[in-house]
Amino acid sequence: MRNNLSDSELIGKILAGDKPAYAGLVARHQRFVFTLALRFVRSREDAEEIAQDSFIKAFRFLNNFKQNSKFSTWLYSIVYTTAMTHLRKKRPDVYLINDGDGSAFFDIASEQGSDKLEHKSKMAYVNLAINELFPGDAAIITLFYQGEQSLEEIGRQLSMETKTVKVKLHRARLRLKDKLTSLLAHEVGELL
């Protein structure tokens, strides 16, 4: 069963000529790669394009992966550079990152009910606040929390010193907290 194989075992199979084994790697990492891509662009189509390009690039250069770090660390660095290239090509889209008014999320949040719904609305606010951050800040938060990458690993992916990543993460969380506070203040204002 391919699902039981580790990343390095799958890579070994692919390098030995078993191309379909790559589907196992894609299935394992596609959700995070897509989520990370979504931190850079607003549309799901663009995020899918970035995620797809990243997986193709990773396949092409798989023999360059030295396996002295996690495959995910190497893959996320490819996603980061692919997303940055995409942003450079489609510059105007960058400004779209802050244009949402979050009305869809306010609709969810206004519904009172079960704990699940409360949790959902809370998560919707956090997601909305992350989407309103600069792509770099959003990416660091996503890599740290959702990608479960250490500061050292993020540093390797973004070609930064660990200390710089630490400072950037602190600043990103500070900005996120401010965004979240202003979003919630907006919601209270709407309700009054």
Binding site: I14, L15, G17, K19, P20, Y22, A23, V26, A27, Q30, R31, F32, F34, T35, L38, R44, A47, E48, A51, Q52, F55, I56, F59, R60, F61, L62, N63, H119, K122, M123, V126, N127, I130, I141, Y145, Q146, K166, L169, H170, R171, R173, L174, L176, K177, L180
Partner: protein
Amino acid sequence: MNIAEQKIWDYLDGKLSSQEKLLIEDLIETDPFYKTAFEELKSLNDDLALLELDEPSMSFNRNVMEKVAFEPVPGSIKSLIDKRIVNGISAFFLLTIVSLLLILFLVIDWSSLPRATGNQLDLLEFNYSGLWSSTVINTFFFIDVILAILFIDGFVRKRIASKKLKNI
């Protein structure tokens, strides 16, 4: 950035030494400012840790694998061939051939060549039967067989690749 906040984040990230950890724990218990800040940041930290990942479209994996099917196996000789080098070599040879032809045309003294008239250049009188020797025919069939084998090989490879993709 607020130093107190930074210390609390370091505490939450588990980046403090045991001595610093004890110190911040004491501050959180005794100092109301630290206590409030800690509760706020811990709540945000917990929310971030619970964030769910987004799901790409159902066909995402298939789309990636369809593109991968056309890629050479990483590390194989085919994957190591840089198309730019191949294009460079072709450009070099093309340029050489064009230059040689140009030089040839410039060097030829066209006035010394016999003028071709309808009577002198009688193409119909050329003996074509000499071309159709058994060697020419055998070579012609040999090339045809090679081309057919290459075509069948390519066709079978494509079919196998598409079957494998369907089984993913």
